[in-house]
């Protein structure tokens, strides 16, 4: 293991370095995955472009219609920020089950997204919150939805000279709630067997106006489950309706069998956890009305 570390102070400089070194370079944020992958000789970048010295890549900005999260915002910051209470709770619930404290203190949201692990904990809540990524590269800035950004396991739409600088979350509608549930063999330091994030918004009559169901670790990327969502739209969220959404999600997801669990077990979990997460959203909407 021998690489050169570059410590640019601006985004422009970071992108210039990335353009110069191409596939020989990697951006270093928290390093909680990258350094381990290098140590395991799974990758061998000759240049690391450390982002820690660039001002403005961390922090949370509140705008009228959306919330911007700097790419270097740590899981711990998300866990502790009161901004994510209420309708954004799924993001906090996901952030606080990533690794131990030592990991959450340095691991960043940008790193978790760019890594594009099918089991990344933050991706289902970001999908449920309809988040976008903002990429800055040699050819300018572009913005695309998380769903467009994720292309496969560890594969994204980002080119070598593009830096993910921030994520944008649309502020959830007034009468909406979110929830996140993760399963693993223990409750901490785990790679998810399945994770589920849901967003539910009710109309004045109490029917489902917005439904978003996102799953992790049951397909090549974290993904939304549009068929299950459509089944609930416009319906009263009865227990039977939530169970039906779970059944459809279990049928539509694409899990594999691996060291953590079998595909069949993952489908059983999806069938059980989707209704549970949706029911949690309902409870939260109820509580916020009181």
């Amino acid at each position: 293991m021998a690489f050169q570390v570059h410590q640019p102070e601006t985004v422009e400089e970071a992108i210039r370095l990335a353009g110069e070194f191409g596939p020989d370079a990697g951006f270093l944020a928290g390093g909680t995955d990258l350094i381990i992958q290098i140590n395991r000789k799974r990758c061998a970048p000759r240049h690391l472009i450390a982002l820690g010295g660039i001002d403005g890549l961390s922090g949370i900005e509140l705008h009228t219609h959306e919330i911007a999260l700097g790419a270097l915002t740590t899981h711990k910051t998300i866990e502790q920020s009161p901004i994510f209470e209420g309708p954004l709770a799924a993001l906090t619930e996901a952030a606080c089950v990533v690794g131990g404290h030592q990991i959450r203190n340095v691991a960043t949201i940008g790193g978790n997204v760019v890594n594009a692990s099918p089991a990344a904990d933050l991706l289902p809540p970001l999908l449920a919150l309809d988040a976008s990524v903002v990429l800055v590269g040699g050819r300018g800035t572009r913005r695309l939805s998380i769903a467009e950004f994720l292309r496969g396991p560890g594969i994204t739409d980002r080119s070598d000279d593009e830096l993910l600088v921030s994520l944008a979350l649309a502020r959830p509608p007034r009468r909406a709630a979110t929830a996140f549930i993760k399963t693993g063999r223990r409750r901490a330091m785990e790679i998810a067997i399945v994770c589920v994030a849901t967003l539910l918004e009710l109309d004045d009559a109490g029917s489902c106006r917005t439904v978003r169901i996102a799953l992790g670790a049951v397909g090549p990327t974290a993904m939304r489950m549009p068929e299950a969502e459509h089944a609930l739209l416009g319906c009263e969220p009865t227990q039977a309706a939530l169970r039906e959404a779970g059944r459809i999600a279990a049928a539509c997801c694409a899990p594999i069998s691996d060291v953590r669990a079998s595909a069949d077990y993952r489908r059983m979990l999806v069938q059980a956890l989707v209704p549970r997460a949706l029911a949690r959203c309902l409870q939260r909407i109820e509580v916020s009305r009181q």
């Binding site: 293991m1 570390v5 390093g31 909680t32 820690g52 030592q102 203190n105 330091m189």
Partner: protein, 161 residues
Amino acid sequence: MNKLPLLLRINGEMHDVLVEQYWSLLHVLRDVLGLTGTKENCLEAECGVCTVLLDGKAVNSCILLAVQCRGRDILTVEGLGRPGNLHKLQQAFIDYGAAQCGYCTPGMLLVAKSWLDEHPGVVPEPDAVREAIAGTLCRCTGYQKIVDAICSAAARVQEPG
């Protein structure tokens, strides 16, 4: 590759070191500076024995590059307390017999300090402490005494040093 000069602030003292760019902070602490209180084990941020505080926050020094620590404040177990002037967590670990082989103890102490500092004035429930130390493994499995010691330390007032 040419080594880089690096000024590190460790336990309140400045250290001038020459480092390879790919060296971890753990390597610099143990093998350059001889601060062997910080332990080395999995080198994959799984076990937590290499935990130090970086700007007051618990981090795994095995996957942190030394060059990322320029200008930042590092605390290792050597700086937590001294014989005759122990940190309240160290005293509680002694009182409760919370060290068996002792290999995880520096990491346990520092992750506990980081948690207590994040939750000033809180005397935690045992479950909260178990969650706090989830990333720090004790292979003697003496967790109960460690949890008891941390809960007890949270309730103690730190003696002025």
